[in-house]
Symmetry: none
Subunit: 251 residues, 2 copies
């Protein structure tokens, strides 16, 4: 059905708002050490292409040439059906947390089943924002010394890439759970989330004002955490459309 080019056999590593070109190049090298060659970049601070990235990537320049550039996270991972967010700090968001090892095992299973998987890496200093994490299905937390967590971007990429290589060396079983299910792609979930947010805004759901943003983030987070199929997404759109139709009707 799908040829290997269309269904890449590895996760996409997505650098979100990376700052220094050197770090993008170093991340490319770190990836290619473990045979990962699908890089995506969201809103790089210094534009794209970046000569500093190219200089640093020596030997892994192809990853930069082929990197998929986007303006925002939602667009970048729109075609993926499972998205991990890497994070150092604990977050308030309710979301499954995996070790790099468990995450890459899961990624390998999903990819073997024909799904597209992405891993988000935040900008050097601040890491991912809650807005970004709310779009992910799960979190990858790298175990580090609680007194000293100072992994840089390329090192974080390196550790997750290393676990990818370990996971794919060992993967012998395929997850049969819900085999053949058509999982919703991230972009479809994104549309669903927008649909709900827009209508609920109209209906006055996000109240009081000072809680509106966190209510929106919680709602957005919930959609990404749910294992939604395409059929689920259609049904949830239908539910909302019907409520709107009801509103418009006189009865």
């Amino acid at each position: 059905m799908n040829d290997p080019v269309e269904h890449p056999a590895c996760p996409a590593f997505v650098l979100v708002r990376p700052q220094m070109g050197e770090n993008i190049g170093a991340a490319a090298r770190a990836m290619w050490n473990f045979g990962l060659d699908r890089m995506r970049i969201v809103a790089p601070r210094d534009g794209w292409p970046n000569p500093n990235a190219t200089a640093m990537a020596s030997g892994a320049g192809r990853l930069l040439d082929e990197a998929q550039l986007s303006d925002d996270v939602a667009t970048s991972v729109g075609d993926c059906s499972y998205v991990f967010a890497t994070t150092a700090r604990a977050r308030d968001l309710t979301k499954p947390v995996f070790s790099p090892e468990a995450a890459m095992r899961l990624a390998a299973e999903r990819i073997a089943a024909g799904q597209r998987v992405a891993v988000l890496f935040g900008p050097e200093r601040a890491g991912l924002e809650n807005e970004d994490i709310a779009r992910a299905n799960a979190i990858i937390s790298v175990p580090v010394n609680p007194q000293f967590a100072s992994l840089n971007l390329a090192q974080c990429v390196l550790l997750v890439g290393y676990e990818w290589m370990r996971a794919t060396g060992e993967v012998t079983h395929e997850s049969t759970e819900m085999a053949g299910t058509e999982w919703a792609e991230t972009l479809e979930v994104e549309h669903l989330a927008h649909h709900y947010q827009d209508r609920l805004e109209q209906a006055g759901f996000f109240f009081p004002e000072h809680k509106a943003q966190s209510m929106k983030t919680n709602l957005r987070n919930m959609w990404s955490r749910m294992p939604l199929t395409r059929a689920d997404v259609q049904m949830m759109h239908g539910v909302l459309r019907q409520m709107v139709r009801w509103k418009m009707r006189d009865d």
Copy 2:
């Protein structure tokens, strides 16, 4: 009996003839990320102490202050009973070869039994010489892309350190999947399902008639398949209540 200070509960990481001070500093940071604080240095090219190393190590400077300096490998690891040598290329030497994971498990066992263990890391460009490796009991080979093996010194230290933490930590576990989450109980999900079904019935969602039952079943099935928290259930009740309020309002 030796007290804990004399018998450190971690392996010594030995940098053999390191060149750039920056790399020594970066190696210290990489180590301390995983709680490793026993550094040894053999014949650093630019002498010791090295201000570039100190500048780079920020936050892990203690490791440099306490680093044990030697002129040669034999002296440096003289007090250890088991020595690993890290190497990228295959060697002619007949010697057990371990993955980083297996090596750090073995190190943890030996250290728990009161032994001193060291890991040798070669100079940036050339790696360890056969002379050095001949002094080791075993080799650690990091699995990398055979087409592109470009780990730098700090990255190699990072991966072995990471495996040390995995071997010893409480962090090796698969996933701390949403520990502490208040999952919705079945009865709460049941109430939620009823709430939606009743209101959607009222709104005319289950149409046409002959599909109504299977639509209800699909919707009911979805609620049970979702990993809903108590907070999710409350939010989804709120969503629906708000749509009903909106319907009742004149606007």
